[in-house]
């Protein structure tokens, strides 16, 4: 059974179609790269997957649970990093992570251990007692990702997780996400094409809400590239050219 199943997903805002008849699935343990130009409908799709927005049409299942019928079961299985990390900037990193962990149902010593684990994983252990608004953009982003990782949910949905990080941190995060494969199912959206080539096995490219391509990276380059070794960038530009 696929971990994430999306069938004929459509999202309309009044007369504007943001997502148009999207169908795909992600197997457990897979990392899917989610690509598309700005405004293609990536964030909207992710918001529907996490139960923040309802679909206009179509079915979304996560771990076998329908997002509309059993939203709590779905939300329990997803760690989500929205486009803008959802931080309470007045709180300390520790206070914030403790709050998110308690929303996810953790408490007592399990909560404490989970906080330590995630903080170490994201390299924020030494800023735990600082107030979030005084942190650099990179650290804020890390705290945002740490929040998604709390409770080790089987599915991670990360909307442009490398945004605001410097090249070294990017490389670190890529390694981290790669390390999640197998244990977690990950959907990763990004503008940065090499990121996808380096971390994901599969790519979904959407353009104006419609699916433009959905395949293994190697396959994509072979089918759409002019040359055998065409880069993902060429494929992307070719597919999303008006």
């Amino acid at each position: 059974m696929p971990m994430i199943e999306v069938q004929h997903l459509t999202k309309r805002y009044r007369d504007r179609v943001a997502v148009d008849d999207l169908t795909f699935q992600v197997e457990a343990g897979e990392i899917l790269g989610f690509l598309g130009p700005n405004g293609a409908g990536k964030s909207t799709t992710m918001k529907i997957l996490t139960g923040f927005l309802p679909p206009s049409e179509g079915v979304v299942r996560v771990g076998g649970f329908d997002v509309e019928a059993q939203p709590l079961e779905v939300k329990r299985r997803i760690g989500y990093l929205p486009e803008m990390p959802p931080l309470y900037v007045e709180m300390t990193v520790r206070g914030y992570l403790r709050f998110v962990a308690s929303l996810k149902g953790l408490s007592g010593s399990a909560l404490k251990a989970e906080l330590e684990r995630v903080a170490a994983l994201m390299g924020v252990t030494h800023v735990m007692d600082r107030v979030i608004q005084n942190l650099s953009k990179g650290y804020k982003q890390r705290v945002g990702i740490a929040q998604a990782l709390l409770g080790s949910p089987p599915v991670l949905i990360l909307d442009e997780p490398t945004e605001g990080l410097d090249p070294a941190q990017r490389a670190e995060l890529r390694a981290l996400i790669k390390g999640l494969a197998g244990k977690h199912t990950v959907i990763l959206s990004t503008h940065i094409l090499p990121e996808v080539t380096m971390t994901c096995q599969k790519v979904l490219i959407i353009h104006q809400g419609k699916m433009a391509a959905y395949d293994d990276i190697s396959q994509l380059a072979r089918i759409h590239g002019q040359a055998e070794n065409a880069s993902l960038e060429e494929v992307f530009i070719k597919l999303t050219a008006a």
Partner: protein
Amino acid sequence: MRTALAIARKELSIYFTTPWAYAVFTAMAALTAFYFMDLLQAFNDVQGVARRVGWAQMSPDFNMYRNLTDGVVVELWGSVLVITLVVTPFLSMRLFAEEKRNRTFELLMTAPVRPIEIVLGKYLGGLGVISATLALTLVFPLLLSALGHSESGLALEWSTVLLGYGALLLWGATCMAVGLFISALTESQMLAAFLTFCVLLAWMLLGQVARRAEEPLRSALSYIACDLQLQGMIKGVLDAQSLVFFASVIGFSLFLTHRTVDAQRWA
């Protein structure tokens, strides 16, 4: 329910780490102190006259000045009622509006938490901060009972004072519930505060309108006017009808808030 408490705790920690709560505390303490001094002065003046001419010669309008409870505390609670109306919007405005503006609403709505737990958690946090604000006003009756005296011994009739304080808490809880609902409607804290203030003020002014209205409109307006509903309790008469009235307003506001939060997903 544990998650609701976690949300309430988070709200309180944010209230107490930002200047807002302290600004409101200061305003409440300063304004109440101002009224308190004024009332004490009036009380003293009337007592002075009464000592010269005797109570029998005075107009019955001055009867409330015969003791500190009716002459000062009951009057003071009446002023605190109005101050509460003014300051609560500044406490309630951020409850949802801030979450939506900062996109943290997305975090709450994608966490495994029911909308009802979010609403209750936020309301509990709001109740905590409004109770703390109102607790400051207890200083004044405490001062009176420590320093004042009367013929019967005790300076204050505490049952009346505390029942009046209960009315204040009930009113604060009601203002907070209305403010919570309005905060859920908008992303702008300013707008939420302003609208909440307008709604509460209009509600309080209904009592004035009622006085001038004709029957049967008059009875209907008097029934829904908040200050008339609170009069009895402030004066120390427990009225089950008022309790039910304000509990219904709170319940209805929370219900509307819940519907609004739930409907956000369908916007």
